[in-house]
């Protein structure tokens, strides 16, 4: 295997993950494309040394041929990577069309949990703080708390 190729693969993975962790969807898609390149090159790199193209006709013993299986895998990976890239770009387009922006925003629900946690209150549907749990000596009596409206 070629050490230079291995270094390139590692480099592509590093640059790809760096872009993946950004907020702009475009950069995320670019990062995934880089990761794709890295992965395809990884397959080829671990396949062994370079050789002549794997075209072996009748009477050819195939000596010195570059490993064909990683190439077949890599071919598949390239094509699927293409499909995924197009899909993600359409997603970015969609996000832009809706929000005029391709930034990934923080999840609103999650931020709410974070904020709600500030005052130590969590309000579920059935287990509210003001429910008459201690009034069980009056089991069928009307609950002291207000009934949920819906």
């Amino acid at each position: 295997m070629s050490i230079m190729l291995a270094i390139l693969v590692a480099w592509l993975f590093a640059c790809g993950t760096y872009l993946l962790m950004q907020r702009a969807l475009t950069r995320i898609v670019l990062g995934l494309s880089l990761l794709g390149h890295g992965a395809v090159l990884l397959l080829i790199t671990v396949g062994g040394r370079a050789g002549r193209p794997p075209l072996v006709g009748k009477g050819d013993d195939g000596a010195g041929v570059a490993a064909p299986l990683p190439q077949a895998f890599a071919l598949t990976a390239i094509v699927i990577g293409f499909g995924v890239t197009a899909f993600l770009l359409a997603l970015a387009y969609r996000s832009w069309a809706g929000t005029a922006d391709d930034e990934v925003q923080d999840d609103i629900e999650d931020r709410l949990v974070l904020l709600a946690n500030g005052d130590g209150h969590f309000r579920g549907n059935d287990v509210a703080d003001d429910e008459p749990w201690d009034e069980w000596d009056d089991p069928e009596g009307a609950p002291k708390a207000t009934e949920p409206k819906s």
Binding site: V46, P68, A97
Partner: protein, 928 residues
């Protein structure tokens, strides 16, 4: 047995269906199920008495050793009698108790299913089957407690019961599995022969007991039972006194003969049981609601049975069986009485009930008999059972039994006291209060009154009582057969203790006023409901705090954490053991060195780029770099594909990015980016080390040699990569092609979405700073370029012919369906980029038809070889002599590859169509 269970389900379904039509009469339908059980029990009773237990065994999951195995011995028969007999009476009672109201069908159905689950529980022999029925009773109990689902209190009570018994159920499951592992037996009957011991079995006992404690409302898990009193009274009478709460007792009774020698068994059952017995009695003394008073009484009695069965000497098993039967009968009856009072006076408060002695004499008599049995007054079933228990305790040779007996007698005094309180509260006169009643119907009173018959009968005719109890106890433990019940045991220690308990009860009742004051002064203090509530709040608050930390809502943070996790483990594993493969070289050639350096530079610039278009061009450079590296490596197919894919994807990027701002918002240099770079560096390092080490560690021979050797003889093709794709690994290619189709459909639906334009995006997606987002791309891309157009006209057809060549030659030379399809796709992209014409006018076939035909060809070829009796996608060869061309040989790989080609063209043209704008639709919009 299975038939009986099915009957319950069917009857339940019928009841649910008829509920709205029949109103409260639906319970007569529901009664059919327990009535069927009663009839069945009567029909098999003599067989079971005569000796052998009835066994039914139906394979369920043989692989796991799970069978639907039911064993009906004498003990099961007694339980069945209680479950079905009380069931019939409760159904009759319910038909009078309820006025016609909504939801009765659902209620009756749930009650019937519960009866079925209970029937299964007491007869199941496989431990896992017991667990299944056990859980089923918890779930149906949830529905029944929460019947009045508009009331918060009922819902909370139902939830509390479900959480506590459900958690206990998990503990039980763990315990049963541990028991199965430690004994090698997965059935109750198998435990008799198994050797039981060791720490695993002890732990199993602990977990099983926790499960039983929750189900049978033992301290400190008892809080749900008083809460469950918000259920309608038929439920309280059936589930929460006679049957479901006995499930834990039942299981302890079944297991006690086998497990009571295990270290934790007796201390746990005795301590928790007696604590429950005392605490329940103590709490019952301060209740002013009749139903709650009985509920705490039930808690107390359950504790007593837990202790008696848990201690588990043969004599105590015998006494426990008697207690179990006696309690089920009188407690169900007393609950029904409370329901009758509630129904007739609309109150259950002690202070508001007055004059019932005269207005409801039969009810009063029934209560006195039931209460007397509960308090253990001589001449009633409760007495003979309790007497047997005291005798059993006195003769048991267990550590600490003296203390246990003392506590037992003390708690029995509490029982006497709260019984008196119940009778006094319900039936004495309160000065100045005259409770108005409307007379209960005879049918409402009858079930409660009927239950007094066995209470008196078995109290007076001890021989008959023994006849019922003795075989049942013997079924638990062979050694219990020598004991019998006695109406008058003679003056002995046990009788004196009984008298002490009764006297104590009277004294406690006499001093009730100062006692209540003292209780009030002590305050509520320890209260299970509070503990449960605090626990629940704690869990919810903890969960919310936990979620706030692990789920901050930021995608970069999530990805960073995931990537770190991906990196850390492998890095820690291999960091000390990095090896390099032996066939390594620094670079294959100086050229490779140069190309790698250039590609790395392009990637680095891409990561740091601030502009969108520059980024895309840099990505293109990386792609070209890898294509060159493929050439150097000896992979012409790959290089061709990479070049073409790169061309088309850059075009797709441009189509989309032209809408977006040219610069990224985020600054390139920031603290967050430094952290990102650090994580990214770690990922790169991990990939590098993993790569070199795993190649160095390779032991198996490469399959490539086989592929090379087999390609021509087996696949009829020289291009090994192509043969691999269409033949050896053809199934992969089918999947890959379908992924492409799905991606294309996804792109189309994301951009066009059902003909809706993105202006109609849901309001959440819309934002603040743009009022009228552009729905579609402009019709043409900028000014038409004459030069481009002329060039394209010159080469377009040549490109098409070249594509055809690549397609047909692909099996033997570089090329193939993918590559040919991409060449055509690239030509179509060029056509669009010239800006003069749109796709639709040049390509007469719609992309969706291309996609469809492609998919059909690909899957069709794959399936045809199956139909011909070959392996999936195994190739087939045809030879023919065609004029002009001469001898032509082709294989079934050709239609397959053609399908791929059509599919790829379809994919690329759908991308173009939706991303650049479909002319027809746009024109229609313009003219409209």
């Amino acid at each position: 047995m299975i038939t009986i269970l099915i009957v319950h389900v069917v009857v339940g379904l019928i009841a649910a269906a008829l509920g709205s039509r029949l109103g409260a009469r639906v319970f007569w339908v529901a009664m059919l199920a327990p009535a069927a059980t009663v009839a069945w029990v009567a029909s098999i009773a003599s067989d079971v008495h005569d000796g052998t237990a009835i066994v039914q065994d139906q394979p369920w999951v043989p692989g796991l050793g799970l069978d639907l195995r039911f064993v009906i011995d004498e003990f099961a028969l007694l339980m069945l009698g209680i479950v079905s007999g009380v069931g019939v009476l409760v159904m009759a009672y319910a038909s009078q108790y309820f006025d016609d109201e909504d939801g009765l069908g659902r209620f009756a159905a749930t009650l019937t299913v519960f009866a079925g689950a209970m029937t299964g529980l007491v007869t199941a022999d496989s431990l896992i089957l017991i667990f299944v029925f056990w859980e089923l009773t918890s779930i149906t109990s949830y529905g029944l407690i929460g019947f009045k689902d508009t009331k918060t209190a009922a819902r909370s009570a139902a939830l509390q019961a479900l959480i506590i018994t459900g958690a206990g159920g998990l503990s039980l499951l763990a315990g049963l599995i541990m028991l199965t592992i430690s004994t090698g037996s997965s059935t109750l009957s198998g435990l008799a022969e198994a050797t039981i011991g060791g720490s695993l079995a002890s732990w199993a006992a602990v977990f099983i007991l926790i499960g039983c404690f929750t189900k049978s409302a033992q301290v400190p898990f008892h809080g749900w039972l008083p809460g469950a009193m918000s259920a309608p009274t038929p439920v309280s009478a059936y589930l929460h006194s006679a049957t479901m709460v006995k499930a834990g007792i039942f299981l302890v009774a079944r297991l006690s003969p086998h497990l009571n020698e295990l270290a934790p068994w007796r201390p746990m059952t005795l301590i928790f049981g007696l604590a429950t017995m005392t605490w329940g009695g103590y709490r019952a003394l301060r209740q002013t609601d009749l139903k709650l008073l009985l509920a705490y009484g039930t808690v107390s009695q359950l504790g007593m049975m837990m202790a008696v069965f848990g201690a588990g000497t043969p004599k105590l098993l015998f006494a426990g069986t008697a207690l179990l039967a006696a309690h089920a009968i009188f407690k169900a009856s007393l609950f029904m009485v409370v329901g009758i009072i509630d129904h007739s006076t609309h109150t259950r408060e002690l202070s508001e009930l007055s004059g019932l002695r005269k207005s409801m004499p039969l009810v009063a008599v029934t209560s006195v008999i039931g209460g007397a049995s509960m308090a253990g007054i001589i001449g009633l079933a409760g007495f003979v059972a309790k007497e047997a228990a005291i005798v059993g305790l006195l003769s048991a040779e267990i550590g600490g039994v003296d203390i246990a007996t003392a506590v037992f007698v003390g708690a029995s005094a509490l029982t006497g006291a709260y019984t008196l309180r119940f009778l006094w509260g319900a039936f004495t006169d309160v000065e100045g209060v005259e409770t108005p009643i409307h007379k209960p119907s005879a049918l409402l009173v009858a079930p409660a009154a009927v239950l007094m018959i066995p209470t008196i009968f078995f109290g007076l005719f001890d021989k008959w009582a023994t006849k019922i109890v003795s075989p049942a106890a013997t079924a638990l433990d062979q050694k219990a057969e020598v004991y019998s019940l006695h109406l008058w045991p003679g003056i002995n220690t046990a009788l004196i203790l009984s008298l002490v308990a009764i006297t104590g009860g009277i004294v406690l009742f006499a001093v009730r006023v100062p006692l209540e004051a003292a209780q009030a002064k002590v305050g509520r203090g320890f209260d299970a409901a509070d503990i449960f509530q605090a626990g629940l709040r704690g869990v919810l608050a903890g969960a919310s705090r936990f979620v706030a930390v692990v789920q901050p809502g930021s995608l970069p943070i999530y990805l960073g954490v995931i990537l770190l996790a991906v990196v850390v483990l492998p890095l820690v594993t291999i960091i000390g053991d990095v090896r390099f493969p032996t066939d390594r070289v620094l670079a294959e050639s100086p050229l490779q060195f140069v190309v790698v350096a250039a590609t790395m530079a392009a990637a680095a610039l891409l990561a740091l780029s601030e502009r969108r278009f520059a980024s895309v061009l840099l990505l293109g450079s990386v792609g070209l770099g890898s294509a060159s590296l493929f050439v150097i490596q000896g992979a012409p197919d790959l290089a061709l594909t990479q070049l073409l894919v790169e061309t088309v994807s850059i075009a797709v990027y441009v189509f989309v990015l032209r809408h977006l701002p040219s610069r990224f918002k985020e600054p390139v240099v920031s603290g967050a980016n430094a952290l990102r770079a650090l994580i990214a560096g770690a990922v790169g390092l991990t990939v590098f080390l993993l790569m070199v080490t795993s190649v160095a560690d390779r032991t198996a021979p490469l399959v490539d040699e086989q592929l090379t050797a087999l390609s021509y003889p087996e696949g009829e093709g020289s291009n090994i990569v192509n043969v691999t794709l269409v033949d050896f690994r053809g199934f992969d290619t089918v999947g890959e092609a379908l992924v492409l189709v799905v991606a294309a459909l996804g792109v189309v639906s994301l951009v066009v979405t059902n003909g809706q334009d993105p202006r109609q995006v849901p309001s959440q997606l819309r934002t603040r700073n743009r009022k009228d987002p552009k729905p579609f791309a402009p019709l043409v891309l900028g000014q038409p370029s004459v030069v481009l157009d002329a060039t394209l006209n010159a080469v377009f057809h040549s490109v098409m012919i070249f594509a055809a060549y690549l397609h047909f030659a692909g099996h033997n030379s570089p090329g193939g369906g993918f590559i040919a399809g991409l060449v055509i796709g690239a030509a179509l992209v060029l056509r669009v980029i010239t800006g003069k014409e749109m796709l639709g006018s040049r390509l007469s076939v719609s992309p969706s038809i291309l996609l469809g035909v492609g998919v059909l060809l690909v899957t069709g070829t794959a399936l045809t070889s199956l139909a011909l009796g070959n392996a999936l996608l195994e190739h087939h060869t045809w030879q023919a002599t065609i004029p002009v061309l001469g001898k032509v040989k082709t294989t079934s790989a050709l239609p397959f590859d053609t399908g791929i080609l059509l599919l790829v063209v379809g994919v690329v043209s759908s991308f173009i169509e939706v991303l650049v704008g479909e002319p027809e639709a746009d024109r229609a919009e313009v003219t409209a």
